[in-house]
């Protein structure tokens, strides 16, 4: 358990340090940027459970994110239900949707690119439903009125009431995001050291071997899917409350699915700290680009594309693999160039 103890220590240290930041630095912009890092890290970690640990590459997490964002927002705007309550319902709906997608795709053994495309199709269907639901309801059930707000989306009226997860200050959001990140990190760290986590890894490495040693592969994948979907939906609620606005594109569009998986991929999929490092790099660089190339459209996305391409080509293990890469490099440099062969050192003729 020493591995777990070390991880728990690192998580606690990170939590303590990150918790102190707003007390020392009251600059609202700085706090906002760290909120973005934490929020993106959280989503990356949620995706990581399915995509990294269980090895099922989802390209449709926008569906879960959108379900979370829309459910709590509709409840808040229509019935004044606090998002602190609504988010659990959103999470539950996303969990069920994940179960449905999982049951269908795993039942028919969709793997690799086929699974990625299937999740993409489900997410796009969800986006179209969010866009058109009101129009359809107007025809079939006019008494329900407007629900998703169609293509124009929903605006959440701003007020200073953190009971409704709304605030004029940044600090409440900061500590909410930090809490979410710490909880998912704890969950992930524990998962790495229990039977279920081993089963995740087994399924990722080889489904056939996992099956052979008696693991119920479909069940493991479904658990990963539901867990990941549930956590992602909670992130959706947080997003809606932080920005007080959602529409089908920004809550359920393809770019959402991409930005959910990017932190994990860039930082290191299937690792505890990867998504956090990935989110820090991505948010940091995109904020810097925004600052330097003010007003140049597409600049931040351009940088995302560049980072993605560079990481996949040069650092397929993500940022967390840098120390290992450096050690390998050091070992290679440390060796004499006339490499000994199996028989003996070849002397130049």
């Amino acid at each position: 358990m020493s591995g777990l103890r070390r991880q728990l220590f690192l998580i606690a240290a990170f939590g303590l340090l990150a918790g102190l930041v707003p007390l020392v630095d009251r600059d609202q912009y700085h706090i906002f940027v760290i909120i973005l890092v934490l929020f993106n890290a959280y989503l990356g970690m949620a995706w990581n459970l399915l995509g990294g640990y269980a090895g099922q590459f989802s390209f449709g997490h926008a569906a879960f994110f959108g379900l979370g964002a829309y459910t709590s927002t509709v409840l808040l705007v229509r019935s004044d239900v606090s998002p602190w309550v609504g988010m659990w319902l959103g999470g539950l709906l996303a969990l069920l949707f994940g179960l449905l997608i999982g049951l269908l795709s795993f039942r028919y053994r969709l793997r690799g690119p086929y699974f990625a495309l299937a999740t993409l199709a489900f997410a796009e269907t969800a986006r179209l439903v969010a866009t058109n639901l009101d129009q359809i309801l107007a025809e079939w059930a006019p008494s329900l009125g407007k629900i998703t707000g169609g293509p124009t989306g929903i605006l959440i009226p701003l007020r200073n009431d953190f009971g409704s997860m709304l605030s004029l200050q940044r600090e409440p959001f900061y500590y909410t995001a930090l809490g979410g990140v710490l909880l998912v990190m704890l969950l992930t760290a524990c998962l790495e050291h229990v039977r279920l986590g081993y089963a995740f890894a087994a399924v990722r490495e080889s489904e056939d071997v996992a099956q052979a040693v008696g693991i119920d592969v479909s069940r493991i994948k479904l658990i990963a899917m539901m867990l990941s979907a549930f956590l992602t939906a909670l992130g959706g609620t947080f997003y809606a409350q932080l920005f007080q606005f959602i529409d089908p594109h920004i809550a359920v569009g393809v770019p959402v699915s991409i930005s959910i998986l990017l932190p994990a991929i860039v930082g290191g999929a299937g690792t505890l700290f990867g998504p956090l490092l990935g989110a820090a790099l991505l948010v940091g660089i995109s904020e810097e680009t925004r600052r330097i190339l003010q007003g140049l459209p597409g600049a931040a996305q351009l940088v995302y594309g560049l980072i993605l391409v560079l990481v996949i080509i040069f650092l397929p293990g993500g940022l967390v693999s840098i120390p290992r890469r450096l050690r390998q490099l050091g070992r290679r440099l440390g060796k004499p160039s006339g490499r000994p062969t199996a028989i003996g050192r070849q002397e130049p003729a």
């Binding site: 590459f57 390209f59 269908l104 795709s105 039942r107 028919y108 969709l110 690799g112 690119p113 086929y114 990625a116 495309l117 299937a118 993409l120 199709a121 489900f122 796009e124 269907t125 179209l128 439903v129 866009t131 058109n132 129009q135 359809i136 025809e139 393809v254 991409i258 991929i265 140049l296 459209p297 597409g298 600049a299 996305q301 351009l302 995302y304 594309g305 560049l306 980072i307 993605l308 391409v309 996949i312 080509i313 397929p316």
Partner: protein, 289 residues
């Protein structure tokens, strides 16, 4: 739904279906030969459209004529993409290659956005709005030309794959990578050629639709999802499948637009997509393997 509306929907769907087939043919060639889902295919179409647009706007070159430049240009882009970026990661897991093409797509799309802005542009030619009436059904001239052009391009592709040594080498590399290495096929070059040809298909499709379609940095997004559906429907790696799949999707989409409200027509397509993925992931025309 009156017969006229149905007829109109059938014709429009069929004509745009040819373009879908061409974009999907490039996608399916790349997947068939090296098992990579090219997420940048839509962005390559956008790039081809912009190339054709600027050739027309700056030098007055007709979009159809510009294919002679855009085709080879996009072939070069695809070839280099494979050689520089994708070749180093060929041994990596599937999703890394998928992500790489996605990253390149983001670079293309946002590079265009940064260079030329988000505004919609049009290339208006004398034949852009020429319409013939056949009975009650209106048939747009540029759409007919695009359809015929797409079919011609698909025919050329078919001849290349079936009747030339290069095509045979390509099919060999697709089916039996190590075997074809043993008999002296340079698989790496074959891959780059296949990627180049796939990209050229997207570029040519972009030039063909320019006379009747707007240009914007994200225009390719409209085609990439449809192309995925076509490819899955027709069977990943199947040329004939992409033609039949393209026409079917084009028709299903335009009939869906008549019977379903708003953008729900696409739900119909995604429904078909998911069903085919689940029930027959090798596609309607794909091999069982």
């Amino acid at each position: 739904m009156t017969p006229t509306i149905l007829g109109q929907a059938l014709v429009s769907g069929l004509l745009i279906g040819g373009i879908y087939a061409l974009v999907a043919a490039g996608l399916t060639l790349i997947f068939g030969v090296m098992k990579i889902v090219n997420f940048a295919q839509g962005n390559l179409l956008t790039l081809g459209m912009y190339a054709s647009f600027w050739l027309f706007t700056l030098y007055g070159i007709d979009p159809y004529l510009s294919i002679l430049i855009v085709g080879p240009l996009m072939f070069g882009v695809g070839f280099l993409m494979q050689k520089i970026a994708i070749e180093p990661v060929l041994g990596e897991p599937d999703h890394n290659q998928l992500l790489l093409t996605l990253g390149i797509g983001l670079l293309i799309q946002n590079g265009i956005l940064a260079l030329w802005g988000a505004s919609f542009r049009n290339a208006t030619l004398w034949y852009s709005n020429v319409i013939y009436l056949v009975g009650d059904v209106a048939i747009s001239l540029p759409k007919v030309i695009a359809f015929v052009g797409a079919l011609l391009m698909l025919g050329l592709l078919y001849l290349l794959l079936e009747k030339t040594d290069l095509g045979r080498a390509m099919r060999a590399a697709a089916e039996e990578t190590e075997g074809s290495l043993l008999v002296g096929v340079n698989v790496r070059n074959i891959y780059a050629l296949a990627f180049g040809i796939g990209a050229a298909c997207a570029g040519v499709a972009g030039a063909l639709i320019l006379p009747f379609f707007y240009v914007s940095p994200d225009v390719g997004d409209l085609f990439i999802l449809t192309a995925f559906i076509v490819v899955v429907l027709g069977g990943m790696g199947s040329m004939a499948g992409s033609l039949v799949g393209g026409l079917m999707v084009g028709i299903a989409e335009s009939i869906g637009a008549v019977v379903m409200p708003g953008s729900m027509k696409q739900v119909l397509l995604f429904g078909i997509f998911i069903l085919v993925l689940l029930l027959r992931p090798t596609g309607l025309f794909g091999s069982k393997a």
